[in-house]
C-alpha cells in the first residue's frame, strides 16, 4: 500500500466504519460490537504496517504528502509521520483496540456509543498525523464532541458536570490555540504548514529572512502552552481530569488516560517548542518547575483519595509531570545550549514516559473497571482480600500497578529515571525533588494494593459477584502486562525509531535559539 493511502486510511477508516454502523439494526448489539472490534483491529493493523514501512534510520518527516484543502487560505490536507508521532500512532491503535474489547460492559445505546467511539479514534489519529496547523486544530476539536457525549451519556452519576467541565476546559484552551495559530499564519505570509513555520522560527526557511519577534514568540508560546497543558494535564489546569476520569465509563477512561493526555505532550513537542524556540527557552525553568510540582502534587493528591478511579486519575497527573519535566530541561548559557545530549535524553524520556503511561494507566483503569463491573463501587476502604477470590486478576493487576510505580524491569521505570537524570544537568534541585516523587508514588501505589488486594476477606457489597476474569478480560490484561514487561526490558525498541527525530529536533532548536540570540545581541529584535 502506498504511504499516502496508508496514512489516509489510518485516519479515516474508523470514521467510515462508524458511518457503516448506521446501517445496523439497533438490536444487533453483538454484531455491532464485533464490527467495532474489527474496525479498530484493522486500524491497528494499518498502524503496524506503517511501523513496518517506517525507516527508523532517517530523521525527519516521512511519507509527507499535501493536498490543497482550502486553497484560498493556504490550508492543506497534509499528513506525515516521524519518530515522534509514530509511537503515539501505534499506541492509539493499540489502546483503541483494547478499550473496544473492554466495551462489552456498555449496554445502553450501543450503536451511538460505537459510532462516537470510532469518530473519536479518527480525531486522535488525525491529531498525531497532521502536519498542517489548521488541520491539526480541526482534528483536535473533532475529538471534543464524541468525548463529551461518551462521558455525558454513558458516564457515572455526575457525568453531566464532568462532561461539561471537560468540554469547557478544552474549548478555552483551543480558543487560545486558535489565536496563536493566527499569529503564526500572519507572521509567515499565510502559511499553516507546521514544518515551514518551524523552519521560519529557526531562520532556515528559503526565501524568508525574518523570524518571529521575541514578544510574539513569548505570547504565542504562553497561549499554546496553556492549550496543551490543559490536555496534559499540568497543575493549575488539571481539575477537569479527576472528574472526567471518575465519571467516564471504563473504556473511555482507558482512552482518556492512554491517548488523550498524550496529545498535550505531543502538542508541546511538535508545535509549541519548534514554533517558538525563544518563548520555550524563556519559560523553560518555569515549565520544569511546573512539571516537578505536578509530580509531587499529583502523588500527594492520589494518596488522599478513597475512590479507586480518582486515585488512578491523580496518578496520571503525577506521571505526566515527568513528561513536562523531560521536555523542558533545555539549559542555555549565553545563547549556547549546554549539554544538548542531556536535553535529548529528557525528550526521549518524555516520549518514552508517554508511551509507558499509555500502557500502565490504560491497564490501571482497566483493572479498576474489572472490579467496578463486578461490585459496582470503587471505595478503596471497602475493598480488601481481592487476591483471595480473584488470584489471577490480582496477579495481573499487581504487575500493572508496579509498572505504574516505576519498578525497574517494567515500562514505568525507564521514562521516570531518564527524565530525572536529564534534569540533573538542568537543575539539581529540581532533580532531587522529582526523584523524591518516586518514593511518594511507591507509597500510594503500595498502600492501595495493600488495601485493595491483600487482607483476609472482602467485606464490601456484592461479594458474590467477585468471579475470576473471563477470557476477553484476561486477553486484555495479559496483552497489557506483556507490553509493560517488553518495554521495561527492551526500551530500545521505542528509543530506536524516536532517536533520530528527537536528535534533529534538539539540534535545530539549539541552533535556531543561537541565531535568535545573536540577532538580539546585535540589533534588538522587536
Amino acid at each position: 500500500m502506498s504511504p499516502e493511502t496508508l496514512l489516509t486510511c489510518i485516519v479515516f477508516l474508523p470514521a467510515v466504519w462508524a458511518i457503516a454502523l448506521v446501517l445496523f439494526d439497533a438490536k444487533a448489539k453483538e454484531a455491532m460490537r464485533y464490527w467495532g472490534v474489527l474496525g479498530t483491529a484493522l486500524t491497528f493493523a494499518l498502524t503496524i504496517q506503517l511501523l513496518a514501512q517506517f525507516d527508523s534510520s532517517k530523521s525527519g518527516i516521512q511519507f509527507k504528502f499535501d493536498t490543497p484543502w482550502i486553497a484560498n487560505w493556504n490550508v492543506f490536507f497534509s499528513l506525515g509521520v516521524d519518530g515522534i508521532s509514530l509511537p503515539l500512532v501505534v499506541l492509539t491503535g493499540f489502546v483503541c483496540l483494547l478499550s473496544m474489547l473492554a466495551s462489552w460492559s456498555i449496554e445502553k445505546n450501543v450503536k451511538g456509543y460505537l459510532i462516537l467511539f470510532l469518530i473519536l479514534e479518527t480525531g486522535m489519529m488525525g491529531v498525531f498525523l497532521s502536519l498542517d496547523f489548521f488541520l491539526f486544530y480541526v482534528f483536535w476539536e473533532v475529538m471534543l464532541l464524541p468525548m463529551y457525549f461518551l462521558i455525558g451519556i454513558w458516564g457515572g452519576p455526575r457525568r453531566e458536570y464532568a462532561a461539561i467541565k471537560f468540554f469547557l476546559y478544552t474549548l478555552a484552551g483551543s480558543v487560545l490555540m486558535l489565536i496563536a495559530m493566527l499569529m503564526f499564519y500572519f507572521n509567515s505570509d499565510r502559511s499553516f504548514d507546521l514544518l515551514e513555520l518551524a523552519r521560519i522560527a529557526g531562520g532556515t526557511s528559503a526565501g524568508k529572512s525574518h523570524v518571529y519577534g521575541m514578544s510574539m514568540q513569548v505570547a504565542a508560546f504562553i497561549m499554546l502552552f496553556i492549550g496543551f497543558a490543559i490536555k496534559l494535564p499540568s497543575f493549575p489546569f488539571h481539575t477537569w481530569l479527576p472528574d472526567a476520569h471518575v465519571e467516564a465509563p471504563t473504556p473511555i477512561s482507558m482512552i482518556l488516560a492512554g491517548v488523550l493526555l498524550k496529545m498535550g505532550g505531543y502538542g508541546i513537542i511538535r508545535i509549541a517548542f519548534p514554533l517558538c524556540p525563544y518563548g520555550a527557552q524563556y519559560a523553560a525553568y518555569f515549565l520544569a518547575a511546573l512539571g516537578v510540582f505536578s509530580i509531587i502534587y499529583g502523588a500527594f493528591a492520589a494518596m488522599a483519595q478513597t475512590d479507586f478511579k480518582r486515585l488512578v486519575a491523580y496518578s496520571s497527573v503525577s506521571h505526566m509531570g515527568y513528561v513536562l519535566l523531560g521536555i523542558a530541561v533545555w539549559k542555555i548559557v549565553d545563547g549556547k545550549t549546554v549539554g544538548r545530549e542531556y536535553w535529548e535524553m529528557g525528550l526521549n524520556a518524555a516520549m518514552f514516559q508517554m508511551i509507558a503511561h499509555g500502557i500502565s494507566s490504560t491497564g490501571m483503569f482497566f483493572m479498576v473497571g474489572v472490579l467496578y463491573d463486578r461490585v459496582h463501587h470503587r471505595d478503596i476502604n471497602k475493598f480488601g482480600g481481592i487476591a483471595q477470590v480473584m488470584p489471577h486478576y490480582a496477579g495481573l493487576a499487581a504487575v500493572i500497578f508496579f509498572a505504574g510505580l516505576g519498578l525497574p524491569g517494567l515500562c514505568g521505570f525507564v521514562g521516570e529515571v531518564f527524565s530525572v537524570l536529564a534534569c540533573w544537568n538542568f537543575s539539581p534541585l529540581l532533580a532531587i525533588i522529582s526523584a523524591s516523587g518516586v518514593i511518594l508514588t511507591a507509597g500510594y501505589i503500595l498502600w492501595t494494593m495493600q488495601r485493595v488486594y491483600l487482607g483476609p476477606e472482602y467485606k464490601g457489597p456484592h461479594p458474590e459477584a467477585l468471579v475470576e476474569m473471563n477470557s476477553r478480560e484476561m486477553a486484555i490484561g495479559y496483552t497489557l502486562v506483556a507490553m509493560a514487561i517488553l518495554f521495561g526490558v527492551l526500551p530500545h525498541l521505542l528509543f530506536d525509531p524516536m532517536h533520530g527525530s528527537i536528535q534533529a529536533l534538539t539540534e535545530s532548536l539549539a541552533s535556531s535559539y543561537e541565531k535568535l540570540y545573536g540577532a538580539i545581541q546585535t540589533s534588538q529584535l522587536p
Binding site: 486544530y137 473533532v142 480558543v175 487560545l176 500572519f186
Partner: protein
C-alpha cells in the same frame, strides 16, 4: 427631453457604465418573477384556483424560478461581462456581490417555503397572504443587497420590514403574537424615522445620495476640515450615527435589540427562522455596501472616517456578542434563546465589517508585508461564508423547533428532555446545529468564525483596539458553549419524563429528510470548504 429621446434611452442607454431601462429590466428579472408569483397567488384566490392548486406551489415555483435566473446571471457574469453595471439610472447596482446575495436570498426563500409546507403553519385560508408577505419581504431584501443609492437603501429596508411586521403577528388569535408584532412595528417605525433623518442630513452635506459619489464628495468637502469642532464634521457624525441606528435595529445590535427576543418569541418559529437569517443577511449586504463606499480608497480624510467607523462598529460588536451570549444563558424558551443567539451572531458578523473598515483605512499605507490589497476581500469572504453556514444552522434549529412544537405544543427547553430516545433524528440534527453555532470543527460554523477572527487579527496591526475585539470574540465563543450545550444535553443526555408528550419522527418522513438535509449541509460546509470559499471571495472582490 422629448419622448423620442426617452424611448431611445430606454432601448439603448447612453450613460457610461449605466444600463438602459430595458437592460435594467432584464437584470431585474428575478425580482420580477417573484412579483409575478405574488400577483398570481392573489389572483388565484380570487378565482378559487387555490382550491385546486395549493398556493405554496406558486410561491415555491416563483422562488425556484428566481433562483435559477440568478444562477444564470452568475454564470453569465463570469462568461461575458466583468464590470459592475448600474441599473435604473444608478439606483441599484448589478455586480457579483449583489448576485451572490440575491442567490442567497432566493435559495433561502425556497427553503423557508419548503419548511412552512412541512410544518403547515399558514392554513389553506391564509396561505396566499402569508406567501405574498414572505415573497414581498424577500424582494425588499434583494433590493437592499443591490442598493446603490441612499433612497434605495431606505426603500429596500422598509420593503423588507413591513411584511416582516405582519408575519410576526401572523398567529392572529394569540395575544403574544400580536404584542410582538406591535412592539416590532413601533420600534421599526422609530428606527426608520431616525434613519431617514440621518440620510437626509448626509445627502444635504455631501450633495449626493449615490453610493459611488459619497467618498469623492466627502473627500472634497472635508479636505481642509479637521476635528470635531467643525460643525460640518459633527453633522456628518450625527448623520452616520442616525443611519447606524437604522442598521442596528435591522441587525438587532445592542442597544437596539429589544424587539428581537419578543418578536421571535411571539412569532411562529418559521418566521423567526426567516427573520433571523434573511433580514440579517440583507442588512449586512447593505451595511457593507454603504460603509465600503463611504470608506472609498482610504486616503486623506477618508482614512480617519473609515477608522472611526470601524472602531465604533467594533465596540458595538463587542457589546452585542457579550450581551447576547450572557442573556441567552438564562432563557427557558428555546425561541427566546435562539433570538439572543441571533443577536450574538450578529455581533460576530459585525466584527468582520469592523475589521474590514479598519483595514481599509490604511489601504494606501504600506504597513504590511505581503499583499495587503487582499485583506478587505478576505474579511468579506469570512462574512459571506459565515452567512451561508448561518443560513443552514439557524434554519435547521428553527425548523426542528417548529417540528417539535407541532407535536408537543411546547417551546420550552425543559420539554425537550430526552428527545433522543423518541426522535433521534431531531436530537442529532439539533445537536449538529447547536455545535455549529458554537463554532466547533468540523462543522461549518467554525470556518466562518475562524475566517472572521483571522481578519480581526490582521486588523490588530492597524489599531490596538482590535485586540480587544479579538479577545472578546474568543471569550464569547467559550461563554456561548454553555447555553448551546444545554440544549444538546437536554435532548441527548437527559431521560424523557414518563408524562411527557411523545414525539415521533420516522427517519424517512419528509420533515426528517428536510432537517437531515439542512444539518447535513452544515457538516458538508465544514468538510468541503473550497468551492463556497472561492465563490465568496469572488463575490467580495466586486466591492473593491
Amino acid at each position: 427631453m422629448d419622448f423620442e429621446a426617452l424611448f431611445k434611452q430606454f432601448l439603448s442607454g447612453d450613460v457610461a457604465q449605466q444600463a438602459s431601462i430595458l437592460r435594467s429590466l432584464t437584470i431585474f428579472l428575478p425580482e420580477l418573477v417573484l412579483s409575478c408569483s405574488i400577483v398570481l397567488m392573489l389572483v388565484a384566490r380570487l378565482i378559487s384556483l387555490d382550491r385546486i392548486i395549493p398556493t405554496h406551489w406558486f410561491a415555491l415555483l416563483g422562488g425556484m424560478g428566481s433562483f435559477v435566473i440568478v444562477l444564470f446571471q452568475f454564470w453569465q457574469f463570469g462568461e461575458s461581462q466583468t464590470v459592475p453595471v448600474e441599473v435604473f439610472t444608478g439606483l441599484a447596482i448589478h455586480d457579483e456581490f449583489s448576485i451572490f446575495f440575491r442567490g442567497f436570498l432566493t435559495f433561502f426563500l425556497v427553503f423557508v417555503i419548503a419548511l412552512t409546507v412541512l410544518t403547515g403553519i399558514p392554513d389553506d385560508e391564509d396561505a396566499p397572504d402569508f406567501y405574498s408577505l414572505l415573497t414581498g419581504a424577500v424582494i425588499g431584501m434583494m433590493l437592499m443587497s443591490s442598493a446603490n443609492h441612499l433612497l434605495m437603501l431606505f426603500i429596500g429596508i422598509e420593503m423588507a420590514s413591513v411584511p416582516s411586521y405582519a408575519m410576526t403577528g401572523f398567529l392572529k388569535g394569540k395575544r403574544r403574537s400580536s404584542e410582538a408584532a406591535l412592539k416590532f412595528v413601533v420600534y421599526g417605525a422609530g428606527a426608520a424615522g431616525v434613519m431617514l433623518f440621518g440620510i437626509s442630513l448626509l445627502t444635504g452635506i455631501l450633495g449626493t445620495a449615490q453610493f459611488s459619489e459619497l467618498a469623492p464628495r466627502f473627500q472634497a468637502v472635508f479636505v481642509n476640515h479637521a476635528g470635531m469642532q467643525d460643525p460640518a464634521t459633527r453633522c456628518v457624525a450625527l448623520a452616520l450615527l442616525m443611519i447606524a441606528v437604522g442598521f442596528a435595529f435591522k441587525l438587532s445590535l445592542v442597544p437596539f435589540h429589544f424587539w428581537c427576543p419578543d418578536a421571535f418569541h411571539g412569532a411562529p418559529a418559521e418566521v423567526g427562522g426567516f427573520l433571523s437569517v434573511g433580514s440579517k443577511a440583507a442588512a449586512f449586504a447593505l451595511l457593507v455596501r454603504l460603509t465600503t463606499s463611504l470608506a472609498g480608497d482610504g486616503t486623506g480624510a477618508l482614512s480617519q472616517l473609515s477608522l472611526s467607523c470601524g472602531l465604533g462598529l467594533g465596540l458595538i460588536a463587542i457589546a452585542t456578542t457579550t450581551f447576547g451570549n450572557l442573556a441567552a444563558y438564562s432563557q427557558q424558551n428555546i425561541k427566546r434563546m435562539l433570538a439572543y443567539s441571533t443577536i450574538a451572531h450578529a455581533g460576530y458578523m459585525l466584527m468582520a465589517v469592523s475589521a474590514l473598515l479598519v483595514l481599509q483605512s490604511v489601504q494606501s499605507d504600506l504597513v504590511f508585508q505581503g499583499n495587503h490589497q487582499e485583506n478587505g476581500p478576505r474579511a468579506m469572504e469570512g462574512l459571506l461564508y459565515y452567512l451561508c453556514v448561518y443560513l443552514f444552522m439557524n434554519l435547521g434549529a428553527f425548523a426542528i423547533v417548529a417540528l417539535i412544537r407541532n407535536q408537543t405544543y411546547s417551546e420550552e427547553i425543559d420539554d425537550y428532555k430526552g428527545l433522543a430516545q423518541q426522535a433521534p433524528v431531531l436530537a442529532i440534527c439539533m445537536a449538529i446545529c447547536m455545535f455549529s453555532l458554537v463554532g466547533i470543527p468540523p462543522l461549518g460554523g467554525f470556518y466562518g468564525k475562524a475566517f472572521i477572527f483571522a481578519s480581526v487579527y490582521e486588523a490588530t496591526n492597524v489599531h490596538w483596539f482590535m485586540w480587544i475585539v479579538l479577545g472578546a470574540g474568543g471569550l464569547n465563543t467559550v461563554i456561548s458553549l454553555f447555553y448551546y450545550l444545554r440544549v444538546a444535553k437536554t435532548m441527548c443526555i437527559d431521560t424523557r419524563p414518563a408524562d411527557a408528550v411523545p414525539v415521533t419522527m420516522v427517519a424517512s418522513s419528509s420533515p426528517a429528510l428536510y432537517v437531515m438535509l439542512v444539518s447535513g449541509m452544515v457538516v458538508f460546509l465544514g468538510i468541503i470548504i473550497d468551492p463556497l470559499s472561492k465563490v465568496a471571495l469572488h463575490a467580495a472582490h466586486a466591492l473593491f
